[in-house]
Symmetry: C3
Subunit: 247 residues, 3 copies
């Protein structure tokens, strides 16, 4: 049995963070948190999501055998419903055989059949990665660069050159470059490396960041990109992982 | 001869209330009011509209034989013109042979050929109906439920169960339900009944309610739905009637 | 060598004023100003644009032989980039062989290959015209009339009849007319004349007027229309010229 209450706007941000990578996924409910790990259909991007129980106003979980519950969720559908009616409290409950999710907002009750977890793509293993460089950047600065990049090309280069972090996208006739020195960033590990990524994935991820103040980019040389940020005043965590393109 | 002046925003609300059901219709002008009765092309929905002469700032009507004037109007066209330029005063005038409508807003004059009333669908008879249950509900609560319902399915159930009024829509995988007890409503006749309706019609009607504060739903058992509301500070009245679906 | 700094919003208004007529064009840079003259692909509309050096916060120009520089620009592309990130300062620079334009906004640098001026349509000669009538009108009044006109028809009549300036558009069933007397206008030369124009061109021009307070219309009898307005607090000037239609 799972019952919880949470701010509807906060839950909507969680759903949007996940939808940036996958439409369906298996949310695990434990005594400590809700969490999810899912990979996109093309196997290029991964999302890891965790929301601690103290991000909820009410959180009741009990499972006879102490095991986690698994809910298979259609996230765009859930997000669409949460978008109705502005911020207010939302009450979630799941029946014992985990077949239906109940979402209650004021006088409105939304009941959705959960997806059979065994029908969903297998949860990915999180690969062991070491990132030589870490960049902490203002989310809005990041997002507006990505928006501008969308007008230019399809691939984007993320790199560090000495004390500067840069993002660069080339079109046929033009080029856009954001270059930020260490002192314009919240944090930067100096270095010399870069990796190329498909812009579409990063665009989607940049829309999953909601009102987050800053994000952390973990980078290597022709290596995956990891983007991490906190939600719910630090009571939740989202991590995206994106495979690099060969230049 | 008919000449009148009225707030452009108010006239636009009237047009939107009518457009929710029909695109064309015959407006009757009498000494007391403007009024219209029209049925949609599929014969499923009806609108009855009345705007009293004291909703106008100027209202001059004279017809030799004391009879009403009939204007055949293309409402989306008229509404589109009223939408230009924000709220201001609008001056209407109709020539004696009722062939042209003149709409004047500031320095702008719009002249439109009226439709030949004999070319329009006949005005429906308003059937004699008795509604055992009446529900008065906040318009915004109603409208947001309809908006949410559009994401789920195509038919909506309106019902009363004891002291509760409910609206319910089912999709293939999910279900949405608004349930409101007597004390959450402005008025409720307790009872036990429900009727099913095509959501599209109700969606359109919910967009015709403008800034109206509350609406009245009149219900029966597998019976038509009547939605009533006042406009122009009580100087006008709109009533929608919608045939039920067989379950 | 050309280097300049200017408010991004102001530069965007300039680009929009030009885009109302042409997508590509040759901007000439001189010691005194930036200027352009270009004709649309169908040879029906012309734009003349000038922005004085004192509209810029920084303006450095030097060319060995004292001649002007010519930049071939793709305006929609440049406008799209300036739209990112709201109003702020923008820094332009052009390399010596005029092959690339550099646009710097904060940490963002956009580099675009300039178009080869010899590949662009030839700059038109500005014909010698004499306009018997001049009308100075509030831009918003003009623009909202054009917006309303778009709902009615495809051609628009601009005329003066004694002390009244009018704009008139006819549809199959309806007609829209703006009539303004001398005292409702900022200026009017009385007269008796009119000309007919294709509405599409005027719609585009009305979108190129940005926040401009008032515009000047120069008119003749079955004669081109000239629309003039100032930008950048009078430090810049835009002039549109549009050929009339035969009635």
């Amino acid at each position: 049995m799972f019952e919880a209450e949470i701010d509807a706007g906060l839950l909507k941000e969680c759903v949007e963070a996940i939808v940036a990578v996958v439409d369906e996924g298996k949310v695990r409910i434990s005594d400590e948190d809700l969490n999810l790990r899912a990979v996109d259909p093309s196997n290029v991007a991964m999302v890891t999501f965790q929301l601690q129980r103290d991000a909820f106003d009410v959180y009741r979980f009990s499972n006879g055998d102490g095991a986690e519950l698994e809910m298979g969720i259609d996230f765009p559908k859930l997000g669409g419903i949460l978008g109705i009616g502005g911020r207010e409290q939302v009450r979630l409950s799941v029946d014992d055989n985990v077949q239906k999710l109940n979402v209650q907002m004021g006088s409105l009750t939304y009941t959705v059949n959960l997806l059979d977890p065994s029908s969903l793509r297998k949860e990915p293993k999180v690969p062991e990665l070491e990132f030589p460089v870490q960049v902490v950047i203002d989310t809005e600065e990041f997002r507006r660069t990505i928006r501008a990049a969308e007008k230019i090309g399809e691939h984007i280069l993320f790199g560090v050159e000495g004390d500067e972090f840069y993002m660069e996208v080339e079109g046929e006739m033009d080029k856009l470059r954001l270059g930020m020195r260490k002192e314009q960033l919240i944090h930067l590990t100096p270095g010399t490396l870069h990796s190329l990524f498909t812009l579409d994935y990063i665009s989607a991820m940049s829309k999953g960041m909601g009102h987050v103040d800053h994000i952390t980019l973990n980078l290597g040389k022709n290596y995956p990109l990891q983007i991490e940020f906190e939600i719910a005043d630090g009571k939740g965590k989202v991590s995206y992982l994106l495979a690099p393109r060969v230049e």
